[in-house]
């Protein structure tokens, strides 16, 4: 059966696949991770706030996002962002948002809900005495969080944050549904359709995803032992 396969299609196109598709996917993954962790940490702090209204807003957001399939959020955002932008800016026409920005905003908003839960348990794992010690030397809330709690919480959670990022890396392939975004899967499928070599190409894409994700998760395991704080 394999005799009918023509893997030349990969040999012909792999440079393009990686320099265009994979570059886009990795850039989007990396930026969405940064934004997602930043916004997620803020959400976690809000969820843990003594102010009930603030905690409620963050909790509702996280629960809502986590109950919706990512693909719907991608869809809505892609079509809604131009209108929301116009509404915010007070423009009469929908604003132009390029596919990359739209996808990035979507992933930050979506992944933040997951990063939030990781950071929340990270923050909660820091002994209360550390908080008291920060306050006792005269730090205010932001200084205490920024210098005492968050650095420790973040360090404790690095392995789980990276594991979530591997999931994000795979999730990015869903932008395929937008049709106009040059991520790894979209680029590969365009070439596959052009050359009529769908099976070969999708096999190759799967192997690439497997090697990269599995490799990263092995790295995470190694890292886990390195970053642990001695207590």
């Amino acid at each position: 059966m394999l005799a009918n396969f023509d893997f030349d299609v990969i040999q012909r196109s792999w440079v393009y696949l990686f320099t265009t598709g994979m570059k886009f996917t990795l850039t989007l993954t990396f930026l969405a991770m940064l934004g997602g962790i930043l916004f997620g940490t803020l959400l976690a702090m809000m969820r843990l706030s003594h102010n009930k209204a603030i905690a409620f807003v963050a909790t509702t957001y996280v629960n809502l996002i986590r109950s919706i399939p990512l693909i719907l959020v991608i869809f809505w955002f892609y079509f809604l962002v131009p209108y929301i932008g116009a509404w915010i800016l007070g423009a009469s026409e929908p604003i132009q948002v390029d596919a990359f920005s739209s996808a990035l905003i979507t992933f930050i908003l979506f992944e933040a809900a997951y990063y939030c839960e990781i950071m929340r348990s990270g923050i909660q794992s820091i002994p209360r005495g550390q908080v008291a010690a920060g306050y006792a030397i005269g730090m205010n809330y932001w200084q205490m969080m920024g210098n005492v709690v968050l650095p420790q919480a973040f360090r404790n959670m690095i392995p789980i944050l990276l594991t979530q990022t591997i999931i994000l890396f795979q999730d990015v392939s869903l932008v395929y549904v937008l049709g106009s975004v040059p991520d790894f899967v979209s680029v590969a499928s365009k070439i596959a359709q052009r050359d009529g070599r769908l099976v070969e190409m999708y096999l190759f894409v799967a192997v690439v995803y497997f090697v990269m994700s599995f490799g990263l998760s092995l790295l995470v395991k190694k890292l886990q032992e390195k970053v642990a704080i001695i207590r």
Binding site: Q130, Y135, A136, I137
Partner: protein, 241 residues
Amino acid sequence: MIELKNVSKWYGNFQVLADCTTSVAKGDVVVVCGPSGSGKSTLIKTVNGLEPFQKGEITVNGVSVGDPKTNLSKLRSQIGMVFQSFELFPHMSITENLTIGQIKVLGRSVEEARERGLKYLERVGLIAQKDKFPGQLSGGQQQRVAIARALSMDPMAMLFDEPTSALDPEMINEVLDVMVGLAQEGMTMMVVTHEMGFAKKVANRVIFMDQGRIVEDCTKDEFFNTQRSERARDFLAKIIH
């Protein structure tokens, strides 16, 4: 310097502090003792506002702790606190532990903070450990670093919350020695401890608490010789062998 007037505190319906009134004058060393659950740790934590209270008034150097308008962070930066479980920041080196508050809170330059922090580290006899991390030190060493961290903020008073309770017996004295030295230099101190040897040596006054109340508040000699309450007599009989 520290004044507590009729301070009461509740956790839900449970009253942890009942009508506590006392004061600590400048240069005084006051030891707070009592059975566990008597509210002594809670009492000392109300002084720098780490524990809120519902009734009464606390002033430190004339500044009201319970007043919402008070800048608590500023007040806390002027009161050193040492915890039972040390609470050094485990992700920072010893030097960073000593300087972080000075830099972030007092706005000192890195060099100035470092110089001052290391001066106090030298004083507690741990200058050789300046580049290590807290997890690499023994409990007694960590607690001495914690004292140095508090001192490098130039506090007007020091609060100690059972500073030796989490230590192995052989490390208790190295911490107490540092505290005795401080007391003899005239530092204003409020110390929650079971170390009656420390109290006998340097305390001006002893406060005995039971069930959230201050049962005895008297000079050291009065306390050790003529306890008025049966609870205090019982307590002393149990901890002085």
